[in-house]
Amino acid sequence: MRRFIAAFMGLLALPALAAEGERITVTGEIIDTWCYYSGVMGGPDSVVGSAHHTCALWCSAAGIPIGLLAEDGTVYTILKLGAQDNATGGDTALRLASHTVTADGMFYARDGINYIIVEDVLEDFGIVNLTHEDYDVVPSFAIPEPKE
């Protein structure tokens, strides 16, 4: 009995083991997770693509996690983007903001969040989600009004 309890308590004391990853290839848009999840600027369709491109640059540069919004609606939080160690705030993340890409990397899921560590961006399709046609720009002040 004591051995059983000791073994169980020992198991509890172990540090969390690293999760097992799975290699995946995903095509999707690189998005700003805060605006997408929080609804702070409107519904999810308005905070992706060209309408939200400038805001996506701002958020990425300031360290808000970026995500890969796959064609099936799954969002993968990007922890690494190709050769660049820092997925968020780095030059690659800025250059690819709002772009649709095909990415190859390791997938992890934990506590309700999907993660991807992108090893390679296999293809960059550029910005193909032309949301400005429906939403203009989000937020509305993203493009400064020209001075008279």
């Binding site: 929080s38 300031a62 160690d85 493009i143």
Partner: protein
């Protein structure tokens, strides 16, 4: 003995994690509303971690020194809470605010974004942080750090209008990211 084993088995079952995740962390929270549709005040204790390290075992010193996304490993249920946002209304993340506490167990207050239907879980706006016996620190350090790192970008207006990397990309590809020709036509439609 059988009852004890059954209790341990119950603790280890997946549904226990679900029960734990549904805990109410709003007690004693003083988080201020952002009027977000799915916000829930949340005050809890946890360890500041480098998420990639936690998932993969690849662990550089000091949580990546600002090069990695940071999160909170919540003490109550061992769940990873992603820190998406700090307390500034200027499009700013929370890495700068959490990095000084890398590896430490701290208390955090802020807003959890929780919507099981979306679905979204364990995504957090950090408003303030308290380490051990220290005073609460407001999570508002990004703009100060940015200003220190960009001394040549001084001027009027918010940081995001003056950031050299952002401005270079907009100058090359426009505000829509579709090229300057598309941008000019769109600006005519928008402002004329």
């Amino acid at each position: 003995m059988i009852r004890l084993a059954a209790t341990f088995a119950l603790l280890a079952a997946p549904q226990f994690a679900t029960v734990a995740s549904a805990q109410d962390f709003s007690t004693n929270s003083e988080a201020k509303t952002w009027n977000l549709y799915a916000e829930v005040p949340a005050l809890f204790e946890g360890k500041i971690i480098d998420v990639m390290c936690e998932l993969t075992g690849d662990c550089p010193p000091n949580c990546g020194d600002g090069e990695r996304q940071l999160a909170i490993l919540r003490s109550a249920d061992d769940q990873i809470v992603m820190a998406l946002k700090n307390n500034q209304a200027a499009f700013t993340g929370a890495v700068v605010d959490l990095l000084p506490y890398c590896g430490q167990t701290v208390t955090l207050d802020g807003l959890m974004i929780a919507d099981e239907d979306f679905p979204i879980r364990n995504s957090y706006l950090v408003q303030r942080i308290k380490a051990a016996d220290a005073e609460w620190a407001t999570a508002n350090q990004f703009t100060k750090v940015w200003a220190a790192e960009n001394p040549d970008a001084k001027g009027k207006g918010p940081w995001f209008r003056r950031d050299p990397r952002i401005n270079a990309l907009i100058a090359a590809d426009g505000y829509l990211g579709l090229g300057l020709e598309v941008d000019e036509a769109f600006k005519k439609y928008l402002f004329e």
